[in-house]
């Protein structure tokens, strides 16, 4: 028989680290609340029938955010065989609040006092024996980071699950409340299993609609329950939900008093607080943030990253690999078309993409570092005040930052945002930030047409941020999104030094998935692109074509190129590249690599770049860049958007909005840019001026207050 053990606990209590330790898997860990947004499964190392399930972090079983709903529904409806409650021992008091609720579910519970090493360091002492007595369940000291105690905790949970020994809550509420609860228990006794009786009775007392709905009570019983609640509320002069909350905290207070000796007095500053005094200081917060971001992107894209990338592109994929492969293939007597497929197709296409791996690794390294040390959560706090002005909450900033690595986890990270409107808006705008797959495009355009000018890469990020901010302002003024941004409430984890192995592992994980992508989906695409571009009908016969512009791909491209002529890059090559970019954004560079017969993407390969440079003017190239940065993301990200929106209309709306915005912005850049650089005044200019005026109107028009009041009253 399979035994399922669920890991439950507060956000950022180390559940995923425990999960990785127990299952030997490599799930993503970070030092900010909300890293795990859906449940994950794995088998306990060294056992066949024990399944470990990692749940998103929750503060309580009265669900507030979407991820809390996921966890609660799982615990109640799919009942795991045991709960391993991961408790951050350095924050025992708040963490036990959830524990008191988990104890009521009628399932076996083992409490893992995690981060016990941190507690020992601060000099606090926790009396485990007494804690066991008070809680009424098993307690194990663990340190997931060091791998201490977690196996024992899991084995204990498995043992209890086999014995089906449900936890017996040792904490009792005050007599008045206990009396009311036992009255409710009598009323619903026949409807639920004995193990879950107390849970449902308490939830009924709290008037929890979801849970009452599951019970299907007759109106007669409901009335009686209401009577009991009202009586108790009158006696204690508070609403029932607050009564239970207060009862739980006073229980925990008793436990804390008898089990824990604390070193720190309230109001004392920890090291973490002292760092916060500087990092979130009124004057220093933004300059520090700007400096951190500048260092991250400047170092990874312009300096260290590009030194290595230049070498891989110029030397490795320019001078070493293609000639070597070509010679080898000719020597073993391959036919010409196969040599062409491999050298001009695969090596050119995949090589153009792989060349960017070093840049990406450096970026991933910095992002992992920021996540582990705890600064990521502060960024949300710092940006909240600014984002609020644009109608977004600071929590929207985390998806954007993650999105600069990859849009898929970025979109998924939006799940921590409680407000539906804010979440949808964040999902729609997350992919505006250039993800790592778009870096090659930026590098290509800046290298080929702007001589590697320093401003091109930062400007790409600036365009992304500007698109997000103006979208925020414009969308907030429409009926779909009107309303105040959700209140900002977020736990900030203590700063800690990231362990090098964690940072390197996370960097490698993401880098590796990029390489895997290059060797699968991008490899296939480049082969398809090579075939489609090299085969066609010339002189009435089907076969390989001498000139790529006779190939099938050229025909498709030519058929659609008119769409992009107003944007300045109506060549079939650019059109095709944009289309293949929908499969994966790296394809854009790969495809251009094949179509222009280049095996390298470099800054100084002037003779090879003449082909690209001659078909783009710098202005057209910039417009091409902007369009591809802002338009609908790759299929993987579209899938993520679809999953998070869980609604086809919203998904289409998001994609339509992104592509329209991309088109409009590129059009304006090209048309107005041409005008200012001495071009003729034509129909395109008029259209783009009208668009700019419309855009400014949408940006600055007053929000319709009557409308926003009428807007859906959900979640506030």
């Amino acid at each position: 028989m399979e035994i399922r053990i669920a890991l439950a606990g507060n956000p950022n209590s180390g559940k995923t680290t425990v999960f990785n330790g127990l299952t030997g898997s490599n799930q993503y860990v970070g030092n900010w609340p909300g890293v795990t947004v859906e449940k994950k499964e794995g088998r306990l190392k060294g056992s066949k029938d024990i399944i470990i399930q990692d749940l998103p972090g929750i503060y309580s079983l009265s669900p507030y955010t979407l991820e809390e709903v996921v966890a609660r529904n799982y615990l109640i409806n799919e009942k795991p065989d045991a709960i391993l409650n991961i408790v951050d021992a350095s924050n025992l008091e708040r963490n036990l609040y959830l524990t008191t609720q988990l104890m009521e579910l009628g399932l076996p519970v083992v409490v893992a006092l995690n981060m016990i090493d941190v507690v020992r360091k601060t000099g606090d002492v926790i009396d485990i024996r007494k804690l066991k007595e008070h809680l009424g369940c098993e307690v194990v000291e663990t340190s997931a980071v060091k791998g201490e105690g977690i196996k024992e905790a899991a084995d204990l949970a498995a043992k209890l699950a086999k014995e089906k020994k449900a936890a017996r809550p040792g904490n009792k509420f005050s007599d008045t409340v206990e009396h009311a609860i036992s009255q409710i228990e009598d009323l619903i006794r026949d409807l639920v299993s004995p193990d879950q009786l107390r849970w449902f009775a308490i939830k009924a007392f709290e008037r929890d609609k979801d849970m009452l709905g599951q019970l299907n009570l007759s109106s007669e019983v409901l009335e009686k329950i209401e009577e009991v609640i009202a009586g108790c509320e009158n006696e204690l002069d508070d609403d029932s939900e607050s009564i239970i909350t207060n009862e739980r905290y006073s229980c925990i207070n008793r436990i804390m008093k008898s089990c824990v000796k604390k070193n720190r007095k309230p109001g004392d500053l920890t090291t973490s607080d002292k760092i916060d005094l500087i990092v979130t200081n009124r004057w220093l917060a933004l300059p520090i943030f700007a400096a951190v971001m500048f260092i991250v992107y400047f170092v990874s894209i312009t300096t260290v990253g590009s030194w290595v990338t230049d070498w891989t592109n110029d030397v490795l994929f320019g001078e070493i690999i293609p000639p070597a492969v070509e010679n080898f293939l000719i020597n073993i007597g391959c036919s010409d078309w196969l040599v062409s497929l491999i050298v001009d197709g695969i090596v050119a296409g995949v090589g153009a993409v792989l060349g960017f791996v070093p840049q990406m690794l450096v970026l991933f390294f910095f992002l992992a570092f920021l996540e582990y040390c705890g600064y990521m959560a502060r960024i949300a706090f710092i940006m909240d005040r600014i984002f609020r002005k644009f109608g977004l909450s600071g929590k929207s900033f985390i998806p954007l930052l993650i999105g600069s690595g990859c849009g898929v986890p970025g979109v998924m990270a939006s799940r921590t945002i409680e407000n539906d409107r804010d979440r949808r808006m964040t999902i729609m705008t997350t992919t505006f930030i250039p993800c790592s797959a778009k870096l090659p495009i930026i590098a290509l355009i800046s290298g080929a047409l702007f001589g590697g000018a320093w401003w091109v890469a930062p400007s790409a990020y600036f365009v992304g941020i500007a698109a997000i901010i103006s979208s925020g302002i414009i969308l907030k003024k429409t009926r779909l999104f009107s309303g105040d941004p959700a209140p900002f409430v977020m736990e900030l984890p203590a700063y800690r030094w990231p362990s090098p192995s964690n940072v390197l592992r996370s960097m490698w994980e993401r880098g590796w998935s990029f390489i895997k992508k290059a060797s699968t989906i991008i490899l296939l695409s480049t082969i398809a692109v090579w075939f489609a571009s090299n085969f066609g009908i010339s002189d009435g016969k089907f076969g390989m074509v001498e000139d790529l512009s006779d190939g099938f791909l050229a025909r498709i491209g030519n058929g659609l190129a008119w769409l992009f002529t107003p944007l300045g890059w109506g060549s079939w090559q650019a059109t095709v590249a944009t289309l293949t970019g929908l499969v994966a954004k790296e394809n854009i560079v790969g495809t251009l690599g094949i179509l222009y017969g280049i095996a390298e993407v470099s800054e100084d390969g002037a003779e090879i770049w003449s082909a690209v440079a001659s078909s783009f003017t710098p202005l057209a190239a910039y417009s091409f860049l902007v369009f591809n940065l802002l338009c609908a993301p790759c299929f993987a990200a579209v899938g993520a958007i679809r999953r998070e929106m869980s609604n086809t209309r919203w998904t289409l709306l998001a994609l339509g909005y992104q592509t329209t915005l991309a088109y409009v912005v590129s059009l304006c850049i090209y048309q107005l840019g041409s005008l200012f650089s001495g071009g003729a005044f034509g129909a395109g200019t008029v259209v783009s001026i009208v668009l700019v005026v419309t855009f400014l109107y949408l940006l600055f028009r007053p929000a319709d207050i009557k409308r926003s009041l009428k807007a859906d009253p959900i979640v506030q």
Partner: protein, 70 residues
């Protein structure tokens, strides 16, 4: 009695009342903001604050701070 938003850095205060809608009040309670609890302002960034409650650090925006009366 004053809203928590008016407290100074490092000041230790006790929560007297929490106003506002049920759902958010409950979420605040889940995080440790309950009547009688002691709270300390760790940092103030233009109205948004980091608050020390029950040994954890919670960031709150100004609107939320105004609801917590100390």
């Amino acid at each position: 009695m004053m809203p928590l938003s008016m407290a100074k850095n490092g000041e230790v205060n006790y929560i007297k009342r929490i106003t506002g809608k049920d759902q958010i009040r409950q979420h605040l309670a889940d995080l440790g903001f309950v009547v009688g609890e002691c709270v300390t302002v760790v940092s103030n960034l233009g109205g948004n604050m980091i608050i020390d409650v029950k040994g954890t650090r919670i960031a709150l925006d100004k609107n939320m701070l105004n609801r917590i009366i100390v």
